[in-house]
Symmetry: D2
């Protein structure tokens, strides 16, 4: 069975695993107060060129989202998101569990725009309504699309205009940063938002994300919030060790290398399928692609390949999701393309 199911189907990238193994027997302080976490934080702050930012190592994406939102909003405040946003679609009401509404609008290619933010803002009027306080976007989006520098800047400015915080979910941030279509560096992204997280789980780590908080007020007593939301890891250095391994080379380091590999494999798949005349459901320049295949071909492919059906069959066609990972091999891509060619 060949997996294009997700970028979290295997363990850690070998070099990340190696760092875990090498440091395993060392004694350190717990709960992320160790030198590995400190060094990894320093590397990230250097990369984003922001000494004043704070970095917290988190156990997953949903914990990042819950904790940032619950820490930043007063009880009656809400967060604006695309209806396709991960916090709305795939977190089982974890945001509402902290007492806050997600105000949704239908995104365009999975993205928000200043106009859409205005539209959400219009639902707010006075003390009878929730008060929007934050905008949540994902880079890349849940369907693999990207915000350009101009688009992100426009959103950032709209947020400032309306007094909204901007928070970016970077579960697959590496795939965005290394996409050929991206013109946004991590330092630029960081400058444009109040907080964002750098996803580790889907970029070669065993688990863990690096949450960057640029806004001092949001960071106040943030470790209390992490603990309160159940996200403080006893052996916290486990995440620090991994992020040190991922970021010690900066933009030439392992994090970028893994993401570039994921994108390259996805591009090969995309181009190969396009050459076979396959149409796509949305147009993603990152490591998730959404080809639309004949239902019959999908059934056959599923005998050898593990992937996700993205939407329901319509007129005999099914949009599927293919995701590449640190462990995806060129030969696996070739095998998939060969089989598709046979089937359509």
């Amino acid at each position: 069975m060949i997996y294009f199911h997700s970028d979290y189907s295997q363990g850690a990238h070998p070099k990340v695993l190696d760092a875990i193994v090498k440091t395993n027997d060392e004694f350190t302080d717990g709960y992320g107060k160790d030198e590995y976490c400190e060094r990894a934080k320093a590397l990230i702050k250097e990369l984003i060129k922001s000494e004043d930012s704070d970095v917290h190592f988190m156990i997953g994406g949903t914990p990042c989202n819950i904790t940032v939102i619950a820490a930043s909003l007063r009880p009656y405040e809400s967060v604006i998101a695309a209806r396709s946003g991960h916090i709305y679609v795939h977190e089982t009401g974890a945001i509402e569990a902290t007492g806050h509404r997600i105000v949704t609008v239908d995104g365009i290619n999975g993205k928000l725009t200043p106009d859409l933010i205005d539209k959400a803002w219009e639902e707010y009027s006075d003390e009878h309504t929730v008060k929007p306080r934050m905008v949540y976007i994902s880079e890349p989006t849940e369907i693999g699309t990207l915000y350009s520098r101009a688009e992100m800047t426009a959103i950032s400015e709209k947020c400032k205009e309306l007094g909204l915080l901007l928070y970016v979910d970077g579960a697959r941030l590496g795939a965005a940063l290394t996409s050929k279509e991206s013109d946004l560096s991590i330092a630029e992204l960081s400058r444009l938002c109040d907080a964002f997280y750098i996803g580790g789980t889907k970029n070669g780590a065993l688990l863990g994300e690096a949450l960057v908080i640029n806004n001092k007020a949001m960071n106040e007593n943030f470790r209390f919030m992490i603990k309160r939301q159940g996200g403080l890891l006893a052996k916290g250095r486990l995440i620090g060790v991994q992020f040190e391994a991922l970021f010690k080379g900066g933009e030439n380091g392992l994090y970028y290398e893994i993401a570039s590999h994921e994108n390259a494999m996805a591009e090969k798949l995309r181009n190969g399928l396009k050459n076979l005349g396959v149409k796509f459901y949305g147009d993603s320049p990152t490591n998730q692609i959404f080809p639309i295949l004949p239902a019959k071909a999908v059934r056959e492919l599923q005998k050898d390949f593990f992937f996700y059906e993205w939407a329901k069959e319509e007129n005999g066609m099914i949009p599927v999701r293919l995701v590449t990972s640190w462990g995806s091999k060129e030969s696996e891509v070739d095998a998939f393309l060969k089989r598709v060619k046979e089937l359509i």
Copy 2:
């Protein structure tokens, strides 16, 4: 520096780490729906002799506690605990964050008794008061003491009498099960309670706990609850792999071996200190001990040893906490005893 600071200062036990490394490159389904988790669940169900129980692999102890309590209580219901209970003392209000009160009573040696449960129960009268619905205890307790089979049985019966669920926090359950003073097997413990968790983090795992739910009603849609509370790990097999390694030998397996080692090292420390005339703050038969040492000696010891001051200095004496771990060595214990001998 020699560490008696905690049982989570190092990484994983080498055999656990080995299992992670060996399986690292395999592809599996995510979110704990993989064969490693399935096998580890089967091993645990065999050990507790309860095929009907459900097992969930959780990322930490606080997530276990939050999720079980929030899943089991109706909004106006409360959980009874000793004032020294971990959920009350060291979880930053994570239980209250789910909307529930912890009704506390002063425990005896860190333990609840049927009488103390009655005392807490008396605060309840009608719709103007919270309604107790669960009893939370820790085995071993937060100060290392143990419930005997008779004590646990009495609590279990009191809970049934009052219509209360019984939930046992087993963050250090291994140390209880392998203590010379314990007369309670894991299968017996399991039979006496509605749910409990088997701590991995403090017993040789990198991270992770196995939550066992014996009460079917509590388990309904439990995975929704895990996700909602932010505790569903994408690479969930990471915990399954570790628990398979820990439990594949049952009561002769690695989990028990690690715990026995921790207890043996603590016993050697305890006996050595007793022989030096040292008094103890409480009397723990597990891997945490609380000797009371002269403040001056404590200051000197801290130059070579890392440990926790448990309470404030009083009359020139300080109670400290020494915790042994899978990596604690006999030579380290000897070094500590030698140094104490020189200092007092």
Copy 3:
């Protein structure tokens, strides 16, 4: 100044006030455990022909909604509503404050349909998503429209099919029940839903609503929920006294009389405006109407009449809301129509 601003601009209907005054000096038990509440409950149960239902007197509509929803849903469950639903639009996130998502769809004339419920249901798939458990509708809707018996029956059946509870917000239920266009009696409505409330505040009471719960499971320990959500009134008989006065004549009693008057006054306004060629924003057969008037006329009218601008000016026209109340007089309606005639 003449008020068409709302149906809560004056105090109580004189007969309701009279009941309060007459009983003022009597001593009763508190918190709604008095004979007035008991008698009012009996009257309502007779009216809905359901001896087994439970009735709770609540201090307001939002407390009804919060308490019913929080009492009925497990933590990961959600409630489906029209985007125009009061719980979504005008309760400042009070539902989310209890930890639950409102899943919204764009209603048709302010109403849900079985198809729209299906659409909302489709967002649910597995433990990564919230699980819909309740449908919330308002009768009449927030824009004054009505569900017919056939429409309400279809929704009720759809709910049963999907395992959803049906809850009806009856803030202005009187106006629905006495509308010429309604074919739904209160007993029929009650049979079709799990719970609903009969609005008092907007139908002649000083304050208070009667919450009817037909589903026994939803009612379990409901008084604990009322208290927990801050809605238990010490002098609870205040609401019982009023509802006894409102309902002692059943369908010939004061509640229906007040509502009929409100509807009659609104109908006179509606017909008068239609005769003047005025167009309407939606077509409401109850006591709220939404004529679209020239902005200039609106500014002039506001010198003598107090009413609400419903939406923004567009092409020189403004939709306004006119609401009639127990105290609205025919002469006031005439004065309004006369002034409009002069202005357009």
Copy 4:
């Protein structure tokens, strides 16, 4: 039957009711944005000599407590209270429902002291514990005792020292202010705390309390909080009208008159019982008293008098609670004393 059961067994004081009746037919804006509320606020601000304070009219005591606490604390912060405090004992977990812990200590005569606050403070250490942020006390306490000016000042200073907000629950504030043993004026009380509420329900109002917020930060967007917590009354002027009637004479007005009457009746009861040799459970100088009577006498008295058994029978004696109200008559007190004399 003669009632000494509570101070909320009857409706409103006749003069309060009269104000409601006289203003009933007037049209006003809703939700507390009317001139009656404005005038009542002005009267209260004059009385407390603090033009900068904010006043909100609330529907009950629990809504005051919930809303102030939820508005003032960040998610991980807690409120310190006596174990006998109303928020802990009689609000069904309404505070925890907003996500916050109540840290309790055993009070002395129902009161906190600076030392007890220190004791509660000691449970706080770092991000693993909740962080106390507010002290909650009641004046008079739940057992009718009073804080002297010196005691209240000491608590206020302790709060400032530790960075804690001070909030005073004044459900029966009138009884404190008019007690012969009180040396604290409302203006002095107000100066010493960040917020407090002036209870109306138990001092002659039909319902309603006046919440005074002296701390500007706590007041930010407070009306959003009231609405979110379900406490915004549509016909809000109902409370404004009552508080205008209660406070228009300042310290010579109706509020003080009612409270003085309640205290005088309680004093007569207390002295009469003392003369009969009756002992008391605590020593309250306000309108609640707690005589300890023979169980047999209690059973006989209950045939003619309605009152509350405060604690369980012990050695044949039962502590009961007698509460006087605006409607308590001297003849009723005499009848009670006469009957006790016959029975003991």
